[in-house]
């Protein structure tokens, strides 16, 4: 027999309790992992390749206020700018749905590949997007959700403009952090809306990361004290300005996560206390035959740790397997497009389990350490 074998046999002496305890830890850690993944998804949208070179330019007053189209040549001529495209929110509803279920933006099709290079699509798609006036391209997830394919037509009723527009799908892209958006041509939008000389925003790509601060500063300066002052910022900063709107949800999820961890701690500590309490006499015997306090504490710690670690393996491992190999995007109707269990989240789950194992062993450990052999032998007599 080995010490490890001895600990294992002790841990499994009441199999039903051990199983239920492990499952309760596993369920709690699964929930915690899920909450952490959801929180990450809500607050830290994944960065796409090329994001570090992209700049978003919006109206300084509000993102809802448009920008004049005449700003384009000024921005294009700022040194360091590689390509600029308008990016106008259409806010269209599809198939009479109550809400906007995916975003649509009007843009310059010639700039698609330069500004959003991470979008993967076949060459025919790029060519058709530039050639056909009604052309639009849609993300893979939206195509799958609505079973759309190249050549299909789709009609969208705008909540911004008093128009309903018909589009022809010429390409389906993938490879972006959020393959849901629909992109169509700004000039097509202008035809419907009467070309009022306005766009929603500008998105541009700079030539190198070194150019970024200078370009941002130059754009902001270029339109300072005009009727349409702008706020240029990196894509990352732009995303973070949206994230601030999730503040309360972030706090709510954090509170729920804390409650889960606290409940988990109570369950594990209670289980360990019961398991050790009913073995007090045996531990007294071990003390009598020469086991020291630290060795007995090591047994309790190892048992507690094993319980928490097994729970973590099932809970966090199960969450990883489910969210990595399962189609969460479809299950959540695209609300959580990536739902990735990152190494950091796995590490947090493992850390919580480890701390749990240690804390749950402290009370029974102290009790055993304080117990004298004589008292221990009398306990269950």
């Amino acid at each position: 027999m080995t010490i490890a074998g001895f600990i294992l046999k002790n841990a499994l002496r009441n199999k039903r309790r051990a199983l239920l305890s492990v499952l309760s830890v596993a369920a709690s850690l699964f929930l915690l992992t899920t909450l952490l993944v959801a929180l990450r998804e809500l607050t830290l949208p994944a960065e796409g390749a090329g994001a570090e070179l992209r700049v978003a330019v919006r109206n300084k007053t509000s993102i809802a206020n448009p920008l004049p189209a005449r700003q384009l040549p000024i921005i294009e001529h700022i040194p360091g700018v590689e390509a600029v495209t308008p990016f106008t929110w259409f806010g269209g509803k599809y198939r009479n749905e109550e809400n906007i279920t995916f975003a649509q933006f009007a843009m310059d099709p010639a700039k698609l590949r330069t500004v959003f290079g991470e979008a993967k699509m076949n060459l025919e798609g790029y060519d058709a997007f530039q050639a056909e006036r009604m052309a639009c391209i849609i993300g893979r997830m939206t195509a799958e959700k609505y079973q759309l394919k190249v050549g299909d037509r789709m009609t969208l009723e705008s909540t911004i403009y008093p128009v309903t527009m018909e589009f022809k799908i010429v390409g389906i892209y993938s490879g972006t952090p959020d393959d849901r958006n629909m992109l169509f041509r700004q000039d097509y939008l202008n035809e419907y809306t009467g070309d009022n000389g306005q766009v929603g925003m500008w998105w541009l790509k700079v030539k190198s990361a070194d150019d970024m601060p200078r370009v941002i500063s130059a754009i902001n300066r270029a339109f300072a004290n005009t009727s349409a002052e702008v706020r240029a910022e990196t894509e990352r900063a732009f995303q973070l300005s949206f994230i601030s709107m999730w503040g309360n949800i972030k706090m709510l999820v954090t509170l729920i996560s804390s409650a889960v961890v606290f409940t988990l701690l109570l369950v594990t500590a209670s289980t360990m206390s019961m398991a050790i309490r009913e073995r007090f006499r045996e531990l007294a015997v071990l003390k009598a035959i020469g086991y020291r306090r630290r060795e007995l504490y090591a047994f309790i710690l190892a048992e507690s740790f094993a319980l928490a670690a097994t729970g973590a393996l099932i809970g966090v491992g199960g969450a990883y397997a489910l969210f990595t190999y399962g189609d969460v995007a479809t299950l959540t109707h695209g609300l959580f497009p990536t739902f990735e269990v990152t190494p950091k989240i796995v590490a947090i789950g493992a850390l919580v389990a480890a701390v749990l194992g240690i804390i749950a062993s402290i009370m029974p450990g102290i009790a055993v350490s304080r117990m004298s052999v004589v008292e221990g032998l009398k306990t269950l007599d």
């Binding site: 027999m1 001895f6 002496r13 009598a288 035959i289 020469g290 020291r292 004589v374």
Partner: protein, 225 residues
């Protein structure tokens, strides 16, 4: 004449419960020779178990000395006492106190896990100890698969396996029928006579005490003979 393995001088033990003081041992002096099978008798509350616990190093006196193999166990700290117990004392309890999830072999091996012996050496010692108590063929049995007498013999093997010179037994036949009690007492007697072990046994049964080479009586914490 054999040396004294236990020398007790002016040993007292007082339990304090609130304002009440209970004298368990009162200025007790005693010598026990190596190889003796000493029966410690007396009525309940006479202090015999307390004396046994102090000799075995699991309890501490209020006053006095208790030298076991030349070591004053009252002067050792907790950690030193634990090591000392592992190397010098074998315990046999009234209720056997075997670990229910371990086989007889594994139960006997428990004290050896604290030593530096190899797995093979541990196995050899365990088998030898089980052989001495006549349970070599029950090595793979769990405690619940053994009779009371067999369980107590496994406990004796566990006490023997580190080869201590001193065995302490607290009412070892208290939970056994007369036949099993005879078997267990026979084993303890044989260990004293043939292996030279010093056995100190607490009992209130005169028939059990008759297996010993000497009996002493305690009453109200004092020796009466």
């Amino acid at each position: 004449m054999a040396e004294n393995i236990v020398i007790i001088r002016h040993l007292s033990k007082v339990y304090t419960q609130g304002e009440i003081q209970v004298i368990a041992l009162n200025d007790l002096s005693l010598e026990i020779r190596a190889g003796e099978f000493l029966a410690l008798m007396g009525p309940s509350g006479s202090g015999k178990s307390t004396l046994l616990h102090i000799i075995a190093g699991v309890d501490r006196p209020t006053e006095g000395e208790c030298l076991v193999q030349g070591v004053d166990v009252t002067k050792l700290n907790e950690s030193e006492l634990a090591d000392w117990r592992n190397q010098n004392v074998g315990f046999v309890f009234q209720t056997f106190n075997l670990i229910p999830v371990l086989t007889a072999l594994e139960n006997v091996e428990l004290p050896l896990l604290l030593t530096r012996l190899s797995r093979r050496e541990r196995r050899q010692r365990v088998e030898a100890a089980l052989d001495i108590v006549g349970l070599a063929d029950r090595a793979r049995h769990l405690p619940r698969q053994l009779s009371g007498g067999q369980e107590q013999r496994v406990a004796i093997a566990r006490a023997l396996v580190t080869d201590p010179r001193l065995l302490v037994a607290d009412e070892p036949t208290g939970n056994l029928d007369s036949h099993s009690a005879q078997e267990v007492l026979g084993v303890l007697q044989s260990l004293s006579r043939t292996a030279g072990k010093t056995v100190i046994m607490v009992t209130h049964d005169p028939k059990a005490a008759a297996f010993g080479s000497r009996s002493i009586h305690l009453e109200k914490g004092e020796l009466t003979n």
